[in-house]
């Protein structure tokens, strides 16, 4: 009885202090404050290094791996693809600001014409289609390589995703991503936040769990367990599969909204992708 009482007090307390939508800026502040309090001895910029912010042994191995980066080939291939003109003579550079270089910090963005979130990968395929080319498959290969190259040219830039306060549709997309992050899914009943907020820094098997802030900075990422470089949405697919939920398609509305929320939670972090993870 007492325990029930305490639980309810806690629950109602949480509800009372939590309005329906606190707004992106407040969300970001609350998220950053939470991790800073949780890990007072970790420099905030370290959160961009995932589990390597917490595990010295793993960090040493990772730094060794980064001496001969396994994603380097993908970046070189991506550069070659990026610079190869389409059949109509145009190229990727014609589709983007600043010729497509050093721009990843502005993705994803909310597109008012389609009322949808546009990710960098989606924009790459839109560019192809506008120029009469077939879209590329999202999960692996050429598109991931192009994205890796574009990320590489954006290294060190500060993530600056916008959710305009006066745009209810953009806010709705952000809120949908936020709800996705906090909703339990799959037979195993985990939300993203179950692991990355509730038990962050503790280890599942041998791997410490990374923080929400700084989580997207290093994509596309080379995963040692996969032996290839992959997009953020492929990682979403893996997370959902691991909790035994039916994953969504890459670039589905669900994942685009999730990327919107999650990248906003890394606003202020420097891009450090592509990177490697075990």
């Amino acid at each position: 009885m007492i325990r029930v009482f305490v639980i309810i007090l806690m629950a109602t307390g949480l509800l009372a202090t939590q309005p329906a939508s606190a707004g992106p800026e407040k969300d970001l502040q609350a998220m950053q404050d939470f991790y800073q309090k949780r890990f007072p001895n970790v420099a905030p910029e370290e959160f961009a290094n995932g589990l390597y912010a917490f595990d010295e042994g793993a960090r040493a191995q990772w730094l060794e791996l980064e001496d001969f980066p396994p994603y380097e080939i993908a970046v070189e291939e991506g550069e070659a693809y990026f610079n190869t003109p389409f059949a109509n003579g145009n190229s990727y550079a014609d589709c983007f600001e600043n010729n497509g270089l050093s721009i990843k910090q502005n993705y994803p963005y909310f597109d008012n014409d389609t009322s949808k979130v546009v990710t960098l990968e989606l924009a790459i395929n839109q560019c192809r289609e506008e120029n009469g080319e077939q879209p590329l498959p999202y999960l692996r290969g050429e598109l991931t390589a192009i994205s890796a190259y574009m990320a590489y040219t954006s290294r060190g830039n500060t993530i600056n995703v916008q959710v305009p306060n006066d745009n209810p549709k953009a806010l709705a997309a952000y809120d949908a991503g936020k709800q996705f992050y906090y909703s339990r899914r799959g037979q195993l009943n985990f939300s993203c936040s179950s692991c990355h907020v509730q038990v962050v820094g503790l280890s599942l098997r041998a791997d410490p769990i990374s923080t929400t802030v700084g989580q997207v900075t290093h994509f596309p990422a080379y995963r040692t367990v996969w032996g290839e470089i992959v997009t953020l949405h492929r990682r979403f697919v893996e997370c959902n599969s691991q909790v035994r939920a039916r994953p969504f398609e890459s670039q589905s509305d669900e994942y685009r909204n999730l990327e919107y929320f999650l990248t906003y939670m890394s606003n202020g972090f420097e891009l450090n992708g592509p990177s490697s993870r075990r």
Binding site: M1, V4, F5, I7, I8, L9, A11, T12, L14, L15, Q18, A20, A22, D27, A30, M31, F34, K178, Q179, F180, Y182, S183, R184, R185, G186, Q187, N189, S191, S193, V197, Q198, S241, R244, A245, R246, P247, F248, E254
Partner: protein
């Protein structure tokens, strides 16, 4: 000590306790399971019936964005068993897929109400 004050306080605590109890009972995790235990399900009359019910239940969960991969694979196994002519097994698997579809939809409804409690 003012006795009126003390009695009021007790009533207040008691009242909170009461509402706390009710709220606790209302939490979906504590509500009665949707179906009885899978192992003890009354099997559907035919594979066709079991399959149709499973597809519908999984579809409801999927429309809420909460389908489970496990119910998908149970349904595939059921189809394979049916192709092999093992109707009893096919019915059993399809019924299990249906139960999981129902549980997944229940999860979606629950989360729709409680996800904000976890927001930082």
């Amino acid at each position: 000590m003012n006795w009126t004050y003390l009695i009021l306080l007790m009533l207040l605590v008691g009242g909170c306790g009461q509402s706390a109890e009710r709220e606790y009972e209302l939490t979906p995790s504590n509500s009665a399971p949707l179906s009885v235990i899978t192992d003890e399900l009354t099997p559907s009359a035919s594979y066709e019936e079991a399959h149709a019910a499973a597809v519908m239940a999984i579809g409801v969960a999927a429309n809420k964005g909460h389908a489970w991969s496990t119910s998908d694979s149970l349904l595939k196994q059921a189809q394979a068993a049916a192709v092999d002519g093992n109707e009893d097994r096919a019915i059993q698997l399809a019924d299990q897929a249906r139960v999981q579809g129902e549980l997944a939809a229940q999860q979606a409804d629950t989360e729709e109400n409680v996800w904000q409690e976890k927001v930082l």
